[in-house]
């Protein structure tokens, strides 16, 4: 329903404008005087709503800000990336190019998994910073940092290769800007089969199929019931089973 328009009856004082104009000028004078005084204070950040950017970098960046990419290493200093190619696949701008290689004997301290990326290139000129790559990455290898100063002089510099990505990781680590590993979002388990049939336990491989089919089948009621009844258990189960599932898929 549209909001009814109420026409206000203006008083004579309001209709001759002048008094109202003076009131408005008082308001703007208040702003002017406040900021004028603020200008004389020392330091770059004196006007509260305005950060003088290159000098003043105290402005808080959102913890979920999506800036320049980095390739993470695990706590033993090994590269997490397994070159599964999911980031390259999902990238809407098609800016990621990966070459896969098998880990050789004696390289266990360099790479975390059996496969690794021998080359990993991100074209920053194409990237749209949607963050899909870090969302889809099963190993949390690729992460968007809070780095936002990405201007460079040549196009070649804008293509991030592996050393640069790892350097970004080192930089973020040195500055203590690494985020804690993300929590898995609990997935609502598939709706129960009609009575009589037991829900197959631990059938991870089928789960995707079931979920897909379940979407069509599922009515709202059973899901809601299930949620209410089994949520804590279900969540734990999913968390426990998710990780190996991811690993299996890649190999």
């Amino acid at each position: 329903m549209a909001k009814p328009v109420v026409k206000k009856e203006y008083t004579l004082l309001e209709r001759i404008y002048l008094w109202e104009i003076l009131k408005g000028m008082k308001l703007t004078w208040g702003h002017f005087w406040f900021n004028f005084k603020a200008c004389w204070r020392p330091g770059p950040h004196t006007i509260p709503t305005c950060w003088q950017y290159p000098e003043d970098r105290t402005r808080e960046i959102s913890p979920i800000f999506r800036g320049e990419h980095m390739l993470q290493k695990d706590d033993k200093g090994r590269e997490k990336c397994i070159a599964c190619g999911m980031c390259a696949k999902i990238c809407p701008a098609k800016c990621i190019t990966i070459k896969k290689a098998k880990r050789k004997e004696g390289e266990e301290d360099k790479y975390a998994a059996k496969t690794y990326s021998s080359s990993f290139e991100i074209d920053l000129l194409r990237c749209i910073f949607c963050g899909f790559c870090q969302e889809v990455c099963p190993k949390e290898a690729i992460i968007l940092t809070q780095e936002f100063e990405m201007a460079r002089y040549t196009k070649e510099e804008c293509i991030l290769d592996k050393p640069k990505l790892l350097a970004n990781y080192q930089k973020a680590k040195d500055e203590g800007k690494l985020r804690p590993p993300r929590k898995r979002v609990p997935v609502v388990p598939a709706p129960p089969k009609p009575e009589g049939e037991e829900e197959p336990e631990g059938a991870e491989g089928k789960k995707a199929k079931v979920a897909a089919a379940g979407k069509a089948k599922a009515k709202k009621k059973p899901i809601a019931k299930k949620k209410a009844a089994e949520k804590p258990e279900g969540a734990e189960k999913v968390e426990a089973t998710e990780k190996p599932e991811g690993a299996e898929k890649e190999e």
Partner: protein
């Protein structure tokens, strides 16, 4: 020979001075806008960003000059000239101080004390509308033409209340000369009020300042260049120094208008209650009167900025309605009251 030299020095000096104020005004306007809107404004070039106008000037000078292929070339080139030349010459009759005595010669601090006084300013001010119209028409652009049209109607409408408000001033002081009017504002009347125009013509002052804002195309009457409606009105197609002349002429107009307001309504170079001229020597009084005059002028210049960032723009029909249905009857009423008062008292 001496008279010639003095005249030339006065002309060049006041011309440079007015241009200087106009240049600083562009900076004041931007800094003021920033501070009113909770941001610092241009503060990078030089101390407090004071060299910003210089940077702007260099930018405008070095830009490529483009004449649109479809533009009417002569009119297009004439537009900014016809706008800025009257603006530069209008200050000639506005005083900028009392007088200074150098080497036994009395020099009036005014380029020329003509006896038609502000009629000259009105005449020259009306010339500026040609620049706007020709610029708008010569650009062959729909927005420019709309801007020029609006400007025509607005300036023609608001010249009437402006002239009528000034007529009441003539009734009070009995002269057109700005210097004579300024001199007449010394002392007090009714025992306590300074002998200023604003206390003798309060309604006239309000009418004059509203009409002056409209004449100067300033907010809330900036319809000729309403950037949210018609890109930037009559100077949409202009670039480089031609645009610079338009913008610059506008600020020079502001200085002139502020000077006229001060000279007519705010006691020119007089301080209220104190006659400093009686205490100071002839040279120092000349300098002090100059300073007092321009302090007052700078207040009104600031008020242009202040009002600009306070008020929104009028709608077009509101501007016309205010002009014809509000200001002109009021101005006629003001003249009537003034005439009646003078007839009864004198």
């Amino acid at each position: 020979m001496d008279d010639w030299l003095i005249a030339i020095i006065k002309v060049v000096g006041i011309w440079v001075w007015v241009l200087l104020i106009a240049v600083v005004m562009t900076w004041v306007e931007r800094r003021g806008a920033g501070l009113i809107q909770d941001r610092p404004g241009p503060n990078r070039a030089g101390p407090w960003g004071l060299f910003q106008p210089l940077a702007d000037g260099i930018k405008l000078f070095t830009k490529e000059e483009i004449i649109p292929t479809k533009a009417r070339k002569i009119l297009y080139i004439l537009g900014p000239l016809l706008f800025s030349l009257p603006a530069f010459s209008a200050y000639a009759v506005v005083p900028f101080g009392d007088k200074i005595i150098l080497g036994g010669k009395e020099i009036i601090l005014q380029v020329s004390d003509v006896n038609i006084g502000f009629l000259f300013i009105l005449a020259i001010g009306s010339m500026a509308v040609y620049g706007v119209i020709l610029g708008g028409w010569g650009s062959t652009n729909k927005y420019s033409i709309l801007g020029g049209l609006r400007s025509t109607a607005q300036m023609v409408s608001y010249e009437v209340p402006l002239g009528l408000a000034l007529l009441a001033i003539v009734f009070v002081y009995g002269t057109f000369s700005l210097r004579d009017i300024s001199l007449a504002q010394q002392g007090t009347f009714l025992g306590f009020l300074p002998n200023w125009g604003i206390f003798k013509q309060p309604l006239g002052f309000i009418l004059f300042i509203v009409a002056a804002y409209a004449e100067a195309n300033r907010v809330p009457f900036d319809l000729p260049e309403a950037e949210s409606e018609i890109v930037s009105g009559y100077h949409t197609e202009y670039g480089s120094m031609r645009l610079g002349l338009y913008l610059f002429g506008e600020y020079v107009n502001l200085v002139t208008i502020s000077g006229v307001i001060v000279a007519l309504y705010f006691g020119s170079w007089h301080m209220p209650y104190i006659d400093l001229g009686a205490y100071l020597g002839p040279i120092s009084w000349g300098i002090v009167s100059f300073c007092i005059f321009f302090l007052k002028v700078s207040f009104f210049l600031w008020m242009f900025v202040w009002v600009r960032w306070t008020l929104p723009r009028f709608r077009y029909d509101q501007v016309m309605g205010l002009g014809w249905k509000g200001l002109i009857p009021l101005a006629l009423f003001n003249i009537f009251i003034t005439a009646l008062f003078i007839q009864l008292t004198v």
